[in-house]
């Protein structure tokens, strides 16, 4: 579908009256989707809150087992990727497509670094037999609540990782379209919208990091 509009004019779809209405609608649409994402992760956060209150000893022990340096590193990587994504959106708004392309590739790189670190942490869990299910090797004293902790750990970080992977794939598509010129000065709302999604995934990690890694360290 060709997105070339008259020069200086931004492109907008046929059902909209003008570019402003198109932009507002698309932004509002993305924000409403983010509401559903907040409620989606919310269910897991509710379960975490309830079980943390009931099994605080086991949850403390569970969070002690996590590698905090990897957690900190991942948080820094993700916040950095949020910055580069914001810069990419800014470049797109100013029409500097090469700058946007560069920043987006940086964001993609940081995203894959984050997923790589996650993969390392997961393999460590598999080796120590900390994956809930029939072969969950209970060790440590509070083994009873531990399986619940790791169920929530894998559900929360797993769901977050799935959202990262989907984000990375979409980012690759956008990078491809920008490189080919399909996304250009007159039509760059996909970059802006993807920026909102990426920042949301960063916010989820901002909450996950303290809840899973830090509580109970003292």
């Amino acid at each position: 579908m060709s997105h070339s509009a008259k020069p200086g004019e931004t492109y907008y779809a046929h059902q909209f009256e003008d570019a402003a209405q198109s932009h507002e609608s698309i932004t509002l649409g993305m924000w409403i989707f983010l509401i559903t994402e907040v409620m989606f992760f919310g269910g897991l956060f509710a379960a975490y809150t309830i079980y943390r209150a009931q099994y605080s000893a086991a949850f403390d022990e569970g969070s002690h087992m996590l590698d905090i340096t990897l957690g900190c590193f991942n948080t820094v990587v993700l916040i950095l990727s949020s910055l580069t994504m914001a810069l990419a959106v800014r470049c797109a708004q100013l029409g500097k497509m090469t700058g946007a392309l560069f920043n987006m590739v940086l964001t993609l790189g940081l995203g894959t670094v984050f997923l790589g670190v996650k993969a390392v942490e997961y393999t460590a869990k598999f080796q120590h037999g900390l994956v809930p299910g029939p072969n969950f090797a209970p060790h440590g004293v509070h083994s009873f609540g531990l399986e619940l902790y790791y169920s929530l750990y894998f559900a929360l970080t797993g769901m977050h990782a799935v959202h990262m992977i989907i984000g990375a794939v979409i980012l690759m598509v956008i990078i491809g379209l920008t490189a080919k010129g399909k996304i250009n000065k007159t039509y760059n709302s996909p970059i802006e919208i993807f920026g909102l999604y990426w920042h949301f995934v960063d916010i989820v990690w901002i909450f996950l990091f303290p809840l899973l890694y830090l509580l109970g360290r003292h």
Binding site: Y55, S56, A57, A58, V141, H142, S143, F144, G145
Partner: protein, 341 residues
């Protein structure tokens, strides 16, 4: 209440039944009145103002604030009275009394297993005396069931992993339906039984009659609990009467608060005792090491109920009768039969 040959209300066979039915009939009256009002007006207006000719242009009526306020305020008051009635009945009638018999029940996929305090066990049927409150503590061994006796207007979901309490006081002798009201699998509709309400003297006679269901000497729950306490070698850590062994002493703790590791305190009730048996490291008493192994899967829910009853009997209660019934632990151990049912 009989109408056209079949009754509209189930038998009122418990103290709670009448008050629940009164709240029910009050709401029925409100429903009938408002349905007749709304539907009557709709039919009346639709017929009285039916369209005579296509060119009719009725005068527009924007609205009327007074009317709007009236039909917000009046329904609000009515529903609040319903709320009040329901809550009063719920909290007073469903408030468990102090006295009465304590029974135990276990829901298992597609059967009910009841235990009387004197150890009598029944499957699907439950004999209860008339005129005395019967408190029943229920748990489930697998999925969620629901203990429902329509004649007593009593229902409570039986959640696995927890004790659930309910009570009733039967007022009319007879046999009443017992249903499982929460879908629990293939034979959900077969998980039914009978609650047989008997006069107190018949109940006592029935109790002393031959208990056909379990072999070996008829042990009361407390005695059975003591035997299991021995067989499972709980005494090695919780030796009754000795000073602080490896495990906290169990005498005189029932009903009181106990300090836990990490600063909280917990009231020692049936639920906490069960949890300490099945999930010991969940909440550890202050000053003790988490050494107790979990008995999850090695001890059935009925045996847990008996051990809980035994531990409760270790706490001297105000009522003197219990001391007799419970018997000192040593007697119970001595009479422990060899056969393990």
């Amino acid at each position: 209440m009989i109408l056209f040959g079949f009754n509209l209300l189930p038998a009122q066979a418990s103290t709670a039944a009448l008050s629940v039915d009164l709240v029910y009939l009050y709401i029925v009256a409100v429903t009938v009145f408002f349905t007749a009002l709304i539907y009557g007006l709709v039919m009346f207006f639709s017929i009285k103002y039916r369209r005579r000719s296509e060119s009719e242009r009725p005068k527009p009526i924007e609205g009327n604030h007074l009317l709007e306020i009236i039909w917000i305020a009046v329904p609000l008051v009515i529903v609040l009275t319903m709320f009040a009635a329901g809550t009063i009945v719920y909290f007073y009638i469903f408030h468990p009394p102090k006295d009465g018999i304590q029974m135990y029940g276990v829901g298992k996929q597609w059967m009910w297993k009841f235990q009387h305090p004197d150890g009598r066990r029944e499957i699907n049927d439950l004999h209860v005396p008339m005129g005395t409150p019967v408190k029943i503590t229920l748990t489930s061994e697998d999925v969620i069931h629901s203990f429902y006796v329509p004649a007593f207007r009593v229902k409570t979901d039986v959640v696995p992993g927890r004790y659930v309490q309910t009570w009733f006081e039967a007022t009319k002798p007879g046999e009443y339906h017992l249903f499982c009201a929460e879908y629990c699998g293939t034979e959900h509709s077969r998980m039914i039984g009978k609650v047989i309400v008997m006069k107190p003297e018949d109940y006592a006679k029935w109790l002393s009659g031959q208990d056909v269901s379990s072999t070996g000497p008829k042990l009361s729950m407390v005695e059975r609990g003591a035997k299991i306490f021995q067989d499972m070698r709980c005494a090695t850590c919780h030796a009754p009467g000795t000073a602080a062994g490896l495990g906290p002493k169990l005498e005189g703790i029932y009903g009181h608060d106990v300090a836990l590791e990490g600063g909280q305190t917990v009231k020692v009730d049936d639920g906490y005792l069960r949890e300490s048996i099945l999930l010991p490291t969940k909440r550890i008493v202050k000053g003790y090491q988490p050494l107790m192994p979990t008995y999850q899967g090695q001890i059935s829910e009925e045996d847990v109920l008996s051990v809980v009853a035994y531990v409760k009997s270790l706490t001297p209660q105000a009522a003197p009768a219990d001391a007799v019934a419970g018997g000192t632990p040593s007697d119970a151990a001595a009479t422990a039969g060899t056969a393990k049912d």
